[in-house]
Symmetry: C2
Subunit: 348 residues, 2 copies
DNA sequence: CTGTTAGCGCCTTCAC
DNA sequence: GTGAAGGCGCTAACAG
């Protein structure tokens, strides 16, 4: 019942373990007599020999393992990215270790250390992003690394991001076409790179289109439904709340929708909204949601490709890949009413 | 730049590596002079020593690693389970390796072998379930194992399931209270354990309530939106389609809804539906969906607990845990009209 | 073509 | 209290 080892096979075949090792690894050029080779292959099969990856990794300093660290495995966005990377790993003979940092910096650091001491060959990480010390340490150690959803300026490393600034700008432009001039912005954790970029795209557009920039129309919070709910309620309590709102984050968007429903407001009659990021359900919501969707599979694909190339070539690169997001125009944006929301407001 | 080892610390402290090992593992009772202990601790800290888990695992035959195999990481159901298990792992010092079998039996087998040869201390698996050979092999090898969402009768092992049969029965009972007597059943892969159970609960209820059991009202397919779409379209093409439908699977439910929308049918005016399983978005859909929701965190919790107990005690158990599901009564079920759907049907 | 030797980094038993 | 020796299972360099 104890696992079969090279030694076992060697003993049975009357050869040295190293010979067995050579045969089983199909090491080229294989200078082994067909006779012993067949003998070894056959008994290995019969005994269902499985090489001990731990021992192999210890010896070769290569584990054929890569680590993926994401802040929330329950998020469709990160789950989707994980899925693609997992597929590529399967195809290339790597095992993926997915860890959830749970939006928690300390846990993230623990995970990074753990993965390193487990000898993963490379790491893909979507950092929680409060500090970047541990990331920089990896870079300095020349550890194969790809960062998703973030870009550092204090040091250089591979990263894959979306064009959030640009697309946020475009959503504002889109809203102005419907006559909106009073536009809000709701987000979760404000120090998240994509959120910062969306905000700056938003602000830039507000300026360019000559709209009033109102600080009280910009809300920050955490990555939770409750936060979205709270922010949107605050927004609605403003006497002259905006006629359109950009909402950053799926779960925040859901919380915002809940706030509107609870207060009896209608989308898009009372307020138009655009959500970052798309989900399969968005089109089936009571008002099919206009969203910005990220090319999840491209992001995963590119992240894996960067990491893989680095691992096989043994060189450390610092490429920055930008994946283009797209806008899904559905029903949550409408022409602004002459006297926006007034009826509804006074009916409450 | 090369990692710090016990040897390095030993050399610096003028002690033997084994002494360093003893100190750093805080092995009790620690018969080490405070002097050398402090010296070792200090230099270990200074050099940021991280034990090589690979070497340690090879030596101790314990990797402090557990494997989780699920058929789809993008499914909120499995992602939720993974999240809970990951949390428990973090708390207990284990590292979780999540692998996605992608509903593919062969990939699942490859993953199992890979995890075993990587030396994981235990496995939690939601099997794809075409064959159970590889699962039985694990059981025979006395590998710590917990099966989620499935129950075997050919051999005994730990499993955590939901009370699908019972709850399916109850949903039919619930529908009859609204006057429905013609009830359909749509599912994905029919050989999935929960699907089988739901179907049998459905059939039992149909009999018990004296409803007509119509084979053409039962649809099978795959775990995909398209499959749900196709099945529901077929159902709608029946001249006397049912007034209520049970739908097994989130993504299948979404496909079904799409089919109804495309054909212009209204929920629940034309057809009442109940979806297995709940998702956060269900209540925000155009018709808030009546669903059966599984206690995802309980399932994960129980699975981890079973595995953990087995691993620390070194005993192999074969417990069967049933987690109770609940019904979320929302808006997708309504009183059956006198002449159900007729107007709508002829308006098309 | 195949065997021998020598570790990878760590832990554990047995000495002293 | 601490050191020495041995080995987990495997691979790599060197013999022959």
């Amino acid at each position: 019942m104890t696992p079969v080892t090279l030694k076992d096979i060697a003993r049975i075949c009357n050869v040295h373990p190293s010979t067995v090792s050579r045969v089983l690894r199909e090491q080229e050029p294989l200078k082994i007599s067909k006779n012993t080779k067949d003998k070894i292959l056959k008994t290995a099969e019969k005994l269902k020999y499985q090489p001990d990856q731990t021992a192999r990794a210890l010896r070769t300093k290569k584990s054929y393992t890569i680590g993926l660290i994401i802040p929330n495995i329950s998020s469709p966005y990160f789950a989707g990215i994980a899925k693609v990377i997992d597929e590529r790993c399967g195809e290339t003979g790597y095992t993926l270790i997915i860890s959830d940092s749970n939006e928690n910096q300390e846990k993230e650091i623990r995970i990074v250390n753990d993965l390193v001491s487990r000898g993963v060959d490379g790491i893909i990480i979507a950092p929680v992003q409060e500090s970047d010390k541990h990331i920089r340490e990896l870079v300095e150690k020349k550890y194969p690394l790809v960062v998703i959803d973030r870009c550092f300026n204090r040091f250089k490393t591979n990263s894959v991001i979306s064009n959030d600034e640009e697309i946020a700008y475009k959503t504002v432009a889109y809203l102005t076409k419907f006559g909106h001039r009073s536009i809000g912005f709701i987000s979760g954790r404000p120090n998240l790179y994509p959120v910062m970029k969306r905000l700056s795209g938003y602000e830039k557009a507000i300026k360019d289109f000559g709209l009033p920039l109102r600080k009280e129309f910009v809300f920050k919070g955490t990555q939770s439904l409750e936060s979205g709910y709270r922010s949107f309620n605050e927004l609605l309590s403003l006497s002259d709340f905006p006629t359109a709102v950009l909402i950053s984050g799926t779960i925040i968007t859901l919380g915002s929708i809940k706030a509107m429903i609870d207060k009896g407001y209608k989308i898009p009659e009372d307020i138009s909204i655009i959500g970052f990021t798309d989900i399969p359900y968005a089109q089936y919501l009571s008002t099919p949601l206009t969203t910005v969707s990220h090319k999840i599979s491209d992001i995963g694909e590119e992240a894996f490709r960067l990491l893989f190339n680095g691992m096989v070539s043994g060189t450390i690169t610092a490429d920055k890949i930008v994946v283009e997001s797209v806008m899904n125009k559905r029903k949550s944006v409408a022409e602004m009413a002459e006297k926006p929301s007034l009826t509804t407001r006074f009916n409450l």
